[in-house]
């Protein structure tokens, strides 16, 4: 097998191969099991969660925070939230996160052209003004140091986003500053058979 890590963006979700030994479920402490919301006989706990279980205190807080930002009601639409996640994941070149959230975007919108354009032409792709504003802001905020400025914020307001939606753009792009730094750094994306 000896599969090489994938280096090009794709909407086919890869297998995540950890660079750090995952916690073994049958050796996990009570605190680790609680943080993973798992029982010792669970078979469905993925390698990523088992790696993060090395730091159960953070995992315990991070999981509801992640779900809160990605799946809360109100504010930014689900598909636009996914677009923000894709933007951050492209800046950080997290192939795995980009694949998961690009494919969700495609499922939600039933339109594959936006992601195709982004993966082919990157930030130079032409999007509709609202998508462009969201993608642009999330991209600039994801750089280090952030390059987002007043003009980028103004662009979000001018295309009609409400303050509650703008808050969600900020939260999503920032959240993937976190997620990408775990997923891309602690493991490799390998093509699934």
């Amino acid at each position: 097998m000896n599969a090489k890590p994938i280096t090009k963006f794709t909407t086919v979700i890869p297998v995540w191969e950890p660079r750090v030994t995952p916690v073994k479920l049958n050796e996990a402490t009570q605190e680790q099991l609680e943080a993973m919301k798992a029982t010792p006989s669970d078979t469905g706990v993925g390698a990523y969660v088992l790696v993060l279980a090395h730091d159960p205190k953070t995992l315990q807080e991070r999981t509801p925070l992640f779900n809160g930002i990605m799946y809360s009601h109100g504010g930014l639409s689900r598909s636009e939230t996914e677009l923000g996640a894709v933007a951050a994941s492209m800046v950080n070149r997290c192939i795995y996160c980009a694949a998961v959230h690009a494919s969700r975007y495609n499922q939600l919108t039933k339109d594959e052209t936006v992601i195709e354009g982004l993966f082919d032409a990157g930030e130079d792709t032409e999007l509709d003004p609202r998508q462009q504003a969201i993608f642009n802001f999330a991209t600039k905020l994801s750089r280090c140091p952030s390059e987002a400025g007043y003009a980028d914020m103004k662009q979000l307001i001018d295309v009609g986003l409400g303050m509650d939606e703008i808050l969600d753009v900020i939260l999503t792009a920032s959240l993937f500053g976190w997620a990408n730094r775990l997923m891309h750094v602690l493991g490799d994306p390998i093509a699934s058979e």
């Binding site: 205190k57 953070t58 807080e61 994801s142 914020m153 990408n180 730094r181 891309h184």
Partner: protein, 168 residues
């Protein structure tokens, strides 16, 4: 007790309970609360594992400075005890030459903060070779990654606040 407007996050962003954007932030109250509890988990966990609280605070300060985020850096700097051996770490220009463990930690922190796309398998191997336990590699990564999140939320909120003020 859980007043989100007392958090480092919203204080750094300059958004208090009487700010025009306060109702918008209150609409995401649970996320603001979890951001604060996550900060406790990465900065002051008990037990701390192989990264003591003062080392974590110094790394947080360094990371804030790498993001040109001096206000948050000052919060983290205040968390470093006066006599801490890690005081110098808070300055991004500081390079450790002798201690292999600290040198590996600083190299990894700087890379994953500034240019995470360049991180490869060899960067994790380098930490292992410096004697850092796998659990501590995950703890360190969570600290770095959380700060990337928290700093961006603050910087984004400042832009939002600025826009709301100019609009008013």
């Amino acid at each position: 007790m859980e007043d989100i407007f007392n958090s480092i996050l919203l204080k750094s962003a300059g958004i208090s309970g009487d700010h025009p954007l306060a109702p918008v932030l209150s609409g995401r109250n649970e996320i603001m609360r979890l951001t604060q509890t996550s900060m406790g988990a990465v900065l002051q966990p008990e037990p701390p594992g192989g990264l003591c609280h003062s080392e974590r605070a110094a790394l947080a300060c360094r990371i804030a400075r790498l993001n040109d985020e001096e206000l948050m850096a000052s919060y983290y700097e205040a968390m470093i005890p006066e006599n801490s051996e890690f005081k110098a770490v808070a300055n991004p220009a500081f390079v450790e030459l002798h201690d292999q463990r600290l040198r590996a930690i600083l190299r990894y922190t700087d890379l994953v903060t500034v240019d995470p796309k360049r991180a490869t398998e060899s960067d994790i191997s380098a930490l292992k070779a410096a004697g850092i336990l796998e659990a501590d590699i995950v703890r360190l990564s969570e600290l770095i990654a959380f700060l990337a999140y928290q700093i961006r939320v603050v910087q984004g909120l400042r832009l939002m606040s600025d826009a709301a003020r100019r609009d008013a």
